[in-house]
Amino acid sequence: MFENATKQLRETVEAALPELNTVVGWRAGYDPLHMTPVFIKNAGDLSKLEWSPFCVQNLSGYLVKDPAVRAQDPSKKIGICVKGCDSRSLVALIQEKFIERNQIHVFGIPCRGTVDWRRVMKLGPLTGIQSARVEESRLVVEDANGGHTFALEDVLARKCLRCAHPNPVIHDVLIGEPVTPRVAVENSYGEVERMEEQSLEDRLGFWKKELDKCLRCYACRNACPLCVCQDRCIAETREPRWLTQRVGTSEKFLFHFIHALHLAGRCTECGECERACPMEIPVTLIKEKLNKITLELMSYEAGMDPEAVPPLLTFNPGETGL
């Protein structure tokens, strides 16, 4: 099922490659459940390029964070492979002028959802994985002990189960046919709503327990394509000094307020922060709440329109009720 898409992706990239510096895509990782980013510079590397539901990484961060990707021949574009969610990060970066639309060549891939390997491992401890493939609504994995089948719903990433934009919102070429979204945007905040039904005390208890696990390794921030301050991040600067080195829960709360509030009205819910977290803290949920707020108050959805201005970077004098 995905062999065809991979073939089509390779052919499309091959045709465009002479005009491009590099194409950022995915290749096989250390086992069949994992993919890893790849940088294709010449046709000889094309056989590495793959597309499958294991291509979890949002590659758009490389365009702003990777000096090697940025420091290339400016007369040529950079190619990038994106799923629906990833394409919204590109839109957000274009809005804020971190990249220019005509600097990039976007290979858009309509996506039916990506597999969260941690959910797979929780369902069946697998050893020596030999193959993994998605067939219709099942994931089939073969390991040292034989074959295992999982319902796709049980192993898809949380963000994919609530995805309203599986088709890339910008692209130069589309690989495959557009797919039907699982949910409409208005219905994609179920988990936030379940949190809202709890009492204030229970919510505080929930976040204390979750955020107390935080190591402040900043993997969530580093993985976020829109956390663009790099070594000027106020979580680490000494001047101004927002955070100390203390291992307190309040420090952890403040760090997550920093990440979340700096992403308010900008976050596209790509889920990279949550995926990158070694402590499995549902950190994207915090940003989902902020997005629900900006959707309700300002009818704004991040990363959809390259011409739009994120709502907290502008104002509306006529706004009432605020």
């Binding site: 936030v192 949190m195 809202e196 204030l200 005390e201 229970d202 919510r203 505080l204 208890g205 929930f206 976040w207 204390k208 107390d212 696990k213 927002w242 203390r246 291992v247 307190g248 829960t249 309040s250 952890k252 709360f253 403040l254 307020f257 920093i258 979340a260 509030l261 308010a264 009205g265 915090i286 709440k289 902020l290 707020i293 900006t294 108050l297 300002m298 709502p311 907290l312 502008t314 104002f315 509306n316 004098p317 706004e319 605020l322």
Partner: protein, 155 residues
């Protein structure tokens, strides 16, 4: 007025942090003082150049670290000294207000409003009402400085 920024905390005193814009609300508080309007003494004022300078993280940090309340006040919309600072602030602070309870922080501990330099009486009412509300809520339990994990490691 000078004395009212450094009132000693009484036994039942609450710690309320007030972020007031230089041009309107700080002046309004001054007017209230000059007119000798009676005011509660729980508020510690931080003067900011404009509510546009008001990083929502100032309020978040105060509440996370145990301030009992945070009050932000600036020029009325359309009266900003810098024309539009408070219009940016309005959006940011409104978003914060909706966000705090999601993280378990009582949104009643946070209030933002607009008071001009001539509105001493309005200022008196704003401070009095907000202080009363905070007294009703009682001390902010905060997040708790120590991490459970840290304590476990220590033992």
């Amino acid at each position: 007025m000078s004395g009212s920024n450094s009132v000693p905390v009484t036994e039942q005193g609450m710690k309320i942090v007030g972020f007031l814009c230089n041009w309107c609300s700080y002046g309004g508080a001054d007017t209230a003082g000059v007119c000798r309007f009676k005011q509660p003494t729980d508020l510690r004022i931080i003067r900011i150049p404009c509510t546009g300078r008001m990083d929502p993280l100032f309020a978040a940090k105060s509440l996370i670290y145990g301030a009992d309340g945070v009050l932000v006040s600036g020029c009325h919309p359309r009266d900003c000294h810098y024309a539009v600072g408070n219009l940016y602030a309005r959006r940011r602070l409104e978003v914060l207000k909706h966000f705090l309870p999601f993280m378990g922080i009582d949104p009643r501990r946070f209030h933002y409003t607009w008071v001009s330099a001539s509105e001493g009486q309005l200022w008196q009412r704003v401070v009095t009402d907000f202080s009363e509300q905070i007294h009703q809520l009682g001390p902010n339990p905060g997040i708790g400085a120590e991490s459970e994990i840290f304590e476990k490691l220590g033992n």
